[in-house]
Each structure stands twice: as structure tokens, then as C-alpha cells.
């Protein structure tokens, strides 16, 4: 069966819209009220100092039932390992070119470490059914909403933060932003969007049965954020 040629429908639809579209479009909307508002902090003017954002980030992330662990610039791999051990996670997957290497390798040495190094379709069954946890880096975090920003790509595929039941995300304090628009302006400018940009706030959840909140609907049941206090300024405080 041929894929239908829909150029006919296209010209009908666009023709109808053009015939009734206003002659002069409205002026570009003014976003200032949003950017200056409570959920736009730090998006206009200077960046809010990341070290002041660790505490609000933690509060917001916990409200989504993410676990937040604090670690130093050198001991974070141990924090990752402890989080895995506490849950009895043995089979762990990381990106083949994970930016967390090589530090992470040593800490996970005695576990069954699997690298995501072949196309998904070649080991789908294993990823879905024989992996306990994943560990990924993050592009940054949003303090206002306790949100992680992920830019999956060749180093860390998209499904790493989706399929395993436990997702451990390593977030550096130096990459914290105050608000959603501030973070996206810095981490995902329109000219540099990855094939899949993800904002993640807590583990997967649903309230579809009688409005009762249940975690682990389809994605990770648990999200652990290892917050790495990496900035010099932060280390002093």
C-alpha cells in the first residue's frame, strides 16, 4: 500500500486558513511578565549563583519523591555506589561514552556493569528485563521545580533514563539554574537542540485510578539525584 500523497489536503487546509487569516498578524507576544514573574527567575539579567540553588532544588525535587544525595567533587562515585547497594541493584547500565567515566568505572567495578554500546533493538529484551538500574549524567537542574535537564545523544541514549526501574542521575551544583526559562536558555538554545531534550521531575507516576498517586507507572520507579558540590565557591560555604 502506497503512503498517500497528502499534498492535496495540504493545499486545501492551508488555502482555507490563508483565506481567513487576519491580514496583519498580531504583534509578537511580550514574555516579560512571565520572565520577570516567580517562575522566570534568573532568565533576564545575571545568572543566579548556583550554590544558593542547591537547597531549593533539593526541596523541590523531594516534593516529587526524588531522593537527593549530597556528594563532593571527588567522592560522588561512592555515593552512586551506595545508592545502588542500598537497593540491591547488581545489573547496572551506563552510556558507552558516559561523561561519568572513568571515575564511575572504579566505583562500580564489582557490579555487573553493562555499557549501552549497541543499537537498542539488538538488546531490547535485556534492557527491559535484565537490568536493575541506570546511571546517567545530566545537563543541569532547575531549582524552581526540582527538574533535571537531560540531553541524550550518542554518549547516553534516550532509554537510559526511561527503561530501568531505578535511575541514578548525577547533577553538578555548578549546572543549577533558578528557573525553567533560565535553564533552557543556557542548556538548550534553539540553535542547539538535541534529537530528544528531556526535562525530568521525579520518578514516573500516575493518579489515573481514583486520583491515588502511584509511582513507577511506566518509567523509573525511583529517581536518585546525586548532587555533586563541585564549584569552588560552593566548597567554601
Amino acid at each position: 500500500m502506497q503512503i498517500p500523497d497528502t499534498r492535496g489536503a495540504r493545499s486545501v487546509i492551508l488555502g482555507a486558513l490563508r483565506a481567513s487569516a487576519p491580514e496583519t498578524p498580531l504583534p509578537l507576544p511580550e514574555l516579560r511578565a512571565y520572565l520577570d514573574g516567580p517562575h522566570g527567575r534568573g532568565s533576564v539579567g545575571p545568572r543566579v549563583s548556583p550554590s544558593t540553588l542547591a537547597a531549593p532544588f533539593e526541596t523541590a525535587a523531594r516534593s516529587w519523591r526524588a531522593e537527593v544525595l549530597h556528594a563532593g567533587a571527588s567522592d560522588w562515585p561512592q555515593a552512586v555506589r551506595q545508592a545502588l547497594d542500598r537497593r540491591g541493584c547488581q545489573r547496572v547500565v551506563i552510556g558507552a561514552a558516559s561523561p561519568l567515566q572513568p571515575e564511575l568505572d572504579a566505583a562500580l567495578a564489582s557490579l555487573q556493569l553493562r555499557r549501552f554500546d549497541q543499537p537498542l533493538e539488538q538488546w531490547k529484551g535485556e534492557l527491559f528485563d535484565a537490568v536493575d538500574a541506570s546511571v546517567t549524567a545530566t545537563a543541569g537542574g532547575i531549582a524552581d521545580t526540582g527538574t533535571l535537564v537531560l540531553r541524550p545523544g550518542t554518549d547516553e541514549p534516550r532509554t537510559l533514563s526511561l527503561v530501568p526501574a531505578v535511575h541514578i542521575a548525577v547533577l553538578r551544583v555548578s549546572t543549577l539554574y533558578a528557573s525553567l526559562p533560565a535553564a533552557l536558555r543556557a542548556l538548550a538554545p534553539p540553535g542547539d537542540l538535541p534529537s530528544n531534550l528531556l526535562l525530568i521531575s521525579g520518578p514516573s507516576k500516575t493518579a489515573d485510578i481514583q486520583q491515588v498517586l502511584a509511582y513507577g507507572a511506566h518509567g523509573p520507579k525511583e529517581l536518585v539525584i546525586v548532587l555533586v558540590h563541585d564549584s569552588a565557591e560552593d566548597a567554601l560555604s
Binding site: 534516550r158 485510578i209 511506566h218
Partner: protein, 488 residues
């Protein structure tokens, strides 16, 4: 189905093919069902409270929704340009764009894509537009099974029903009903009404389906013309599964969902999640900028977008009705509607229920089938008060009521089904009323007769006396009771 013989039947699969033409009968069945009334009342109270917790600061809400309204109105004012730009940018990113004027055309595209990839089934994320085209039904006719994977949609599909709310599709069901359904329909499943256990059962079944499906289907919350992005907002992760794991991802959405710039999505996202479920953000914001790129190890190899019109261009034609297309599908209008919260979503018999359903459905289905829906409102205005993009819903309801009863104004093209609620008896009554009102002497005389003959008033006055005392003229008219103003 007669409502009287089916008390409580509104939650059963008998409502599978509810027809908006039978709206009044459906409504009766719904208000007679105490389970449904309880489910909706508690769900609406819950959602109203969650939303209110975020928008306690009225001034801040007004500011934010002013921005949301401006973005949607700007986008619509440039709609044809933005759609062309979107198509161009998506194509550059490797997304294949298809256009459909009608549900049939959209289904033909799905079918052709399914066959091309030898798909026996499709795994679906939440998409109201796919409900609009009856995708599941149409694909089943051709041997392709579509499986819903949003928990609420999955439950509703297992039960052979339709969603009763656009955000919480299974809102009308109790956990006990769901427990029975799972025990009955899912092999090797014992009865449990523990919500965590029920979700775990759904998770187990659906993960296998995500893993094995060739084609994933999703809706879209926002499209960005400048960047060629498809934005999906969700909590469960099934949307990410459907758009990430299968080799082919087919997205379908209405032509109105496009905005110009990525920064325009952010205030709308903020308004959407807070208005819908009272969340500052959802678990996931999934921004898809094309299929798997060279060197990437997952993500779909093909991404398709189907842009559906299905009557939207009719709404676009009229400067007033155009504001219907500002909608971002948060469901706040239904959560606050005194009619919806009493009859639930199924009674409407349309994909979109509640106030937004009453103003969009006439464009999608024509006024002939939907002429009763705009009357399902007390015009209290709660819907427009909470609408995050300020759609003047009561005004549009009034206009649609008028359009159902009258011909189009000269020089304006009629809506589909315009004038289909015309009733010659009603028209004659109004005409006579107008005629006699223009003749004061005759009017006074006739009213005088009326007062004297009030004892002849029939005790039975159709629908009015079903719930009320009969209407009767007073013994003396207003004029007689105001002696000082007797002669005007």
C-alpha cells in the same frame, strides 16, 4: 438504550457508542447513577483544590494567563505561515509531515504506514486527536490492534469504553471496578483493589508491549515552528516509551497546536500543568527534534507527523470562533463546570466533553449532531474564569446556540449544520410575541384575558413540570399592582 431501564448503566460498555444526538437521554442516565455522581464529585473537588493551590495569587495568575492568551492568539494570527515553517523545519530534521482534512484521510495514512512496516499492532500514548479519528476502531477493521498505554486509557479500553475526561480518562471508575476488570480481562490476575498493585499489573503488561511494538503512536501538546520540535507533556512515561522504543513513531495532532518559538512553549507548559492537575511541572517534558541521528543507539528510525484539520479551519474562519483554537487541553473548564461535574464526560458522546467540548465539537462534527451541547450550560462563566488562555466560552456557547437556531447572517458562510435546531413552532411563538409586544393596547387586552383565565392553566407543562410546579399567571398583572404607573 432507554435511560429509565438502565439506572447505573452509564459506566458499562453499553455507552460505547454514545451519540451526541442523544445527549438529553444520556444526561438523564448519568444523573440517575449514584456511583458516577460520587466519582465525579470527588474527582472534581480534588482537581479544583489542586489547581487552586497553585493559583491562589489571583494577580499572578492573571498575568501569566495574559501571556498565555497572547501567545496563543499570536500563533493563530500567523497559523498558515507557522504550519509551513513547521513543515519545513521538521522535514529538515528528518520528520515526515502528512496532512489530513478528514479523519478518513488520517486513518489512511496510519494504515499505509502500519502496512509498510508490517505492524500487527500499534502502541499508543495519550492522544485525544486519535480518539477524534476513531483510530483504534478503524485500524481494528484492517487487522491492526491499537493498544492504549496511558493507564487511564488502558483501563477504559479494556472496559470497552471511551475516556470520560481528557486528562484523567478513567475518572468515572472506582478502584473496585478496575480491580474486577483486571481480574476478568488480564490472564493470571487475581482481584486486588490496592492501587499500587493495580498500577504494577498495568506496568507489567504494557512494558512487554512497549518492548515488542514496531509502531508507536502519540499525540502532541505543542509544536514549535522555528525549531521543528514536537513537545509532549506527561507523568507516566508511556509517552516517552511510545515515542522512543518502537522503530516508527507516528504523531498526530490538530493544526492549531503550533507556536512560533521554543520560548513560547514555556509559559504555556506552566499554565497547562498547573491548570490540569495542579502540578508545577509534570514528570516529563519530552521535546522531540527528529528521529535517531547518526551514531545514536536508540530512538525511532522514522518519525511521522499527521496534521489534522477536521473542522478546525471552520472555527478559524470566524474571528470569534477562532478563539476556540486557543485551547491547550488542560481540562480546567470541565473540572469547574457544574454541568460536567454532574453528568460526567461520557454523556456528551463526543471526544471532547465539557465546556470546551461544547464549543469545539460543533466544528468537528457539525451542529446537526451537536446542537444540544451548547445548551448544556448555565452560562455561569466558571469555565472562562479558570481558562488559562482566556477563551470566552460562554460567549461562544451563546453564538453556537444562535447558529443552531438561525440561518447565517447575510454575507457570512454558514457553519456545518447551521440552523439545524430550528423549530417552526418556537419561531412562530417568538414572532407572535414580538408582534403583540409592538401593539400595547392589544398586549394589555390579551394579558388581561390571560389573568382572568388563569384557572385554565394546565397542571402538566411538559419538561417544566417534571421537576417544578406549573407556571401560572398571577391573579393581577404588574401594571395593576403599580397604580401610580397605570397609564404610561
Amino acid at each position: 438504550m432507554t435511560p429509565a431501564s438502565h439506572t447505573g448503566a452509564v459506566t458499562e460498555s453499553t455507552l460505547n457508542f454514545v451519540d451526541p444526538r442523544r445527549f438529553k437521554a444520556n444526561t438523564q442516565a448519568a444523573v440517575d447513577d449514584p456511583h458516577l455522581r460520587r466519582s465525579f464529585r470527588s474527582a472534581m473537588d480534588f482537581l479544583q483544590a489542586k489547581r487552586a493551590a497553585h493559583f491562589g495569587d489571583t494577580a499572578a495568575f492573571e498575568t501569566l494567563r495574559g501571556v498565555g492568551e497572547a501567545i496563543r492568539q499570536y500563533s493563530l494570527s500567523r497559523l498558515p505561515d507557522l504550519l509551513e515553517r513547521l513543515e519545513q523545519r521538521l522535514t529538515e530534521r528528518g520528520v515526515q509531515v502528512h496532512w489530513a482534512s478528514t479523519p478518513e484521510q488520517a486513518n489512511d495514512i496510519f494504515l499505509a504506514l502500519g502496512r509498510k512496516h508490517g505492524a500487527k499492532g500499534m502502541i499508543k500514548g495519550k492522544s485525544m486527536v486519535s480518539e477524534e479519528i476513531e483510530l483504534n476502531h478503524r485500524m481494528a477493521e484492517h487487522g491492526i490492534d491499537c493498544l492504549e498505554s496511558d493507564m487511564g486509557e488502558y483501563i477504559v479500553q479494556l472496559a470497552g469504553e471511551r475516556p470520560s475526561h481528557i486528562i484523567m480518562p478513567a475518572i468515572h471508575k472506582t478502584k473496585q471496578q478496575i480491580a474486577e476488570l483486571f481480574a476478568q480481562k488480564i490472564p493470571d490476575t487475581a482481584y486486588t483493589d490496592d492501587v499500587d498493585a493495580l498500577i504494577a499489573i498495568g506496568r507489567r503488561v504494557l512494558r512487554n508491549e512497549f518492548r515488542d511494538a514496531t509502531v508507536g503512536v502519540s499525540g502532541v501538546n505543542f509544536m514549535v515552528a522555528e525549531t521543528g520540535s514536537l513537545v509532549l507533556v506527561e507523568n507516566e512515561g508511556n509517552g516517552r516509551m511510545c515515542t522512543t522504543v518502537p522503530e516508527v513513531h507516528i504523531a498526530i495532532t490538530g493544526i492549531e497546536k503550533v507556536v512560533e518559538r521554543f520560548e513560547h512553549v514555556l509559559p504555556l507548559f506552566s499554565l497547562l500543568t498547573r491548570s490540569a492537575t495542579g502540578q508545577a511541572v509534570t514528570t516529563y517534558l519530552n521535546v522531540i527534534n527528529g528521529p535517531r541521528r547518526a551514531g545514536e543507539l536508540d530512538g525511532p528510525k522514522e518519525v511521522h507527523l499527521i496534521l489534522l484539520d477536521n473542522g478546525r479551519s471552520q472555527a478559524y474562519r470566524d474571528a470569534d470562533f477562532r478563539s476556540t483554537l486557543q485551547c491547550i487541553r488542560c481540562g480546567a473548564c470541565m473540572n469547574h463546570c457544574p454541568v460536567y461535574s454532574r453528568i460526567g464526560g461520557l454523556a456528551y458522546g463526543t471526544t471532547y466533553p465539557g465546556p470546551i467540548g461544547a464549543i469545539i465539537s460543533p466544528h468537528l462534527l457539525g451542529l446537526e449532531a451537536t446542537k444540544d451541547l451548547p445548551t448544556a450550560s448555565s452560562l455561569c462563566g466558571a469555565c472562562s474564569e479558570v481558562c488559562p488562555v482566556r477563551i470566552p466560552i460562554p460567549e461562544l456557547l451563546m453564538q453556537l446556540r444562535r447558529a443552531a437556531k438561525h440561518d447565517a447572517a447575510p454575507g457570512r458562510p454558514p457553519l456545518a449544520g447551521q440552523g439545524s435546531a430550528k423549530d417552526w413552532k418556537e419561531a412562530l411563538a417568538w414572532k407572535s410575541w414580538a408582534w403583540i409586544n409592538e401593539r400595547p393596547r392589544l398586549y394589555r387586552w390579551a394579558v388581561g384575558i390571560g389573568h382572568r383565565l388563569r384557572w385554565l392553566t394546565p397542571p402538566w407543562q411538559g419538561g417544566w413540570t417534571a421537576h417544578r410546579l406549573p407556571m401560572r399567571l398571577a391573579p393581577r398583572g404588574l401594571r395593576d399592582r403599580l397604580p401610580g404607573r397605570r397609564h404610561n
